[in-house]
């Protein structure tokens, strides 16, 4: 599979593989198209080649839009340059499943990436393509995780970087961006304001905005999450995936990854049910799903899940279509449920996620409580980011017992210290 051109998702007009993202004929988004030569495909050989590849996303380079293949020297040592992403753990979460009355739940922990979110996947691909196209400066409009990743990739590869964020972002995400020496711009407004500004700037500057003019390449990086899930399940598909939705790009590209591999014969079966997860305070896609609409009405976000706070989701129409045709849904949860979701995941799996993962976990609990998940289903919960980035969400949710450094003090304090605070009050009743 080699990338051949860019294609408009709305009207199929073709464009060369350059830094383009909008169709000039109908304003639709552009997407990478690949050649479709399956005639001589040897599935066994292809699987072996993937398995013999590097322990990062470049093992899937055959399915990514890079002219020169993975960066760095060839062979198994390939692609240890820069900040290789991917090959994150897929862990079997039996205690979480049991709590929710389910049998088989897996957690894809994408916090285990170089800058602790799935964004390293998309940025690796976008920045590699940007270098192929001759750009010397990378940039982005970000809700935080992308900011961390673009700043770090700029540092690793020696590229100048400009990162634009809403000025009220979580302090952890601001600190974990500025430390890399990027030019950090806090914009007085929400993400949608930052995005509008960057879309205007993109026309004026010769920069690679990874999620604007490099967006067709960037978005393809999300497919690697699907490839890893399938490979880690032993070349099998899950029955259902729960995925957070901000712009809708990750949600739709995970499905695209499964579809591409199914079409090539690398895996078999039907597309998993795709369940999108949003916060009540920013739920344009969930609202449109519930109302039966096929486009989203923009909203002004107000939620603790700031990494999902995109009020005007560009891929909303495609996310709605995917949820419906896969037999899934798009649901939303309250800030209280998000906090409880973070605690539930932490207490049952040892994985501490940021607010976006709290959204995803809470939606899983909600679906289980509604009885929508057959207990025999194999469910994958996609955790996209790290809990240390949104510490405010867990502040005040448990107690620390402070004592004098003596055995007597410990034993005297123990009586009222043994019962851990109930984490899942807000999700109580979820499952059996």
């Amino acid at each position: 599979m080699a990338a051949t051109h860019l294609k408009c998702r709305e009207c199929d007009t073709q464009y060369p593989l350059e830094a383009l993202y909008v169709c000039e004929r109908c304003f639709g988004p552009l997407e990478v198209a690949y050649d479709d030569d399956r005639a001589n495909l040897d599935v066994g050989e292809l699987r072996r080649r993937i398995q013999g590849g590097p322990q990062n996303i470049w093992r899937y380079a055959d399915f990514l839009p890079l002219a020169g293949g993975p960066p760095g020297p060839s062979g198994r040592l390939a692609s240890r340059v820069g900040l290789p992403a991917g090959c994150t753990p897929l862990i079997r979460a039996d205690r979480l499943a049991q709590r929710l009355g389910l049998r088989e739940v897996w957690v894809k922990n994408d916090a285990a990436n170089p800058t602790h979110s799935f964004k390293d996947r998309v940025v690796s691909v976008a920045v590699t393509r940007a270098r192929e196209l001759g750009f010397e400066t990378i940039a982005c409009a970000s809700t935080g995780n992308l900011a961390n990743s673009v700043a770090a990739h700029g540092a690793a590869l020696g590229l100048d970087s400009y990162v634009f964020i809403p000025s009220d972002l979580e302090e952890q995400k601001i600190l974990a961006t500025g430390v890399y020496g990027t030019k950090l711009v806090g914009v007085q407004g929400n993400y949608d304001d930052v995005n509008r500004l960057c879309t205007e700037l993109c026309a004026e500057r010769d920069w690679a905005f990874v999620n604007i003019n490099l967006r067709p390449y960037y978005a393809e990086g999300s497919k690697t999450l699907a490839f890893e899930i399938a490979e880690q399940l032993g070349w099998e598909l899950p029955d259902r995936c729960i995925v957070p939705i901000a712009s809708g790009s990750l949600f739709t590209k995970i499905a695209k990854g499964f579809q591409e591999w199914t079409e090539l014969g690398l895996i078999e079966g039907r597309l998993p049910r795709m369940n999108g997860a949003q916060a009540d305070g920013c739920s344009p896609v969930a609202s449109a799903f519930a109302a039966g609409h096929d486009v989203c009405r923009p909203v002004k976000p107000s939620t603790i899940a700031k990494s999902l706070a995109i009020g005007n989701p560009a891929d909303g129409p495609y996310a709605l279509d995917l949820a419906r045709r896969s037999g899934g849904s798009v649901d939303s949860v309250s800030d209280e449920e998000i906090r409880a979701g973070i605690r539930l995941l932490a207490e049952t799996t040892g994985v501490f996620t940021e607010t976006a993962g709290g959204v995803t976990t809470a939606v899983l609990a909600k679906l289980a409580a509604r009885g929508e998940i057959d207990p025999d289903e194999r469910v994958v919960l996609v955790i996209t980011g790290e809990g240390l980035k949104t510490l405010d969400a867990v502040r005040g949710t448990f107690e620390t017992h402070t004592i004098e450094p003596s055995v007597e003090a410990f034993e005297a304090g123990l009586a009222d210290a043994v019962s851990p605070s109930g984490s899942t009050a807000a999700l109580a009743g979820a499952g059996g």
């Binding site: 909008v22 639709g28 988004p29 970000s142 879309t199 205007e200 604007i212 967006r215 960037y218 989701p313």
Partner: protein, 91 residues
């Protein structure tokens, strides 16, 4: 009432290369109609047959998405700035 319309790079070929235009009109719809009268090709590119904007077209009045105002019926003041941009996002 004269309004400045900022035209995105992707549409400039259909607007004789112009990056902005001064157009008369009392509402967003009238302004866009005036723009389309001047550059006929623009209409086919960003508007549907019924006159509504295609779903990937965002229009901002003074930086605010018109869908948070009164959409195409939003009144515009003299000297206002209307910006047409493609929908693109991903945090």
């Amino acid at each position: 009432m004269s309004v400045t319309v900022k035209i995105p790079t992707q549409l400039r070929a259909a607007a004789e290369g112009a990056s902005e235009a001064q157009v008369e009109g009392a509402t967003v719809q009238e302004v866009l109609g005036g723009l389309f009268d001047r550059y006929g090709e623009l209409r086919q590119r960003i508007a549907d047959d019924d006159g509504s904007l295609r779903r990937f077209v965002n229009v901002y009045l003074g930086g605010e998405d018109i869908r948070f105002l009164d959409g195409l019926q939003t009144p515009v003041a003299d000297g206002a700035e209307l910006t047409i941009l493609p929908a693109v996002a991903g945090g």
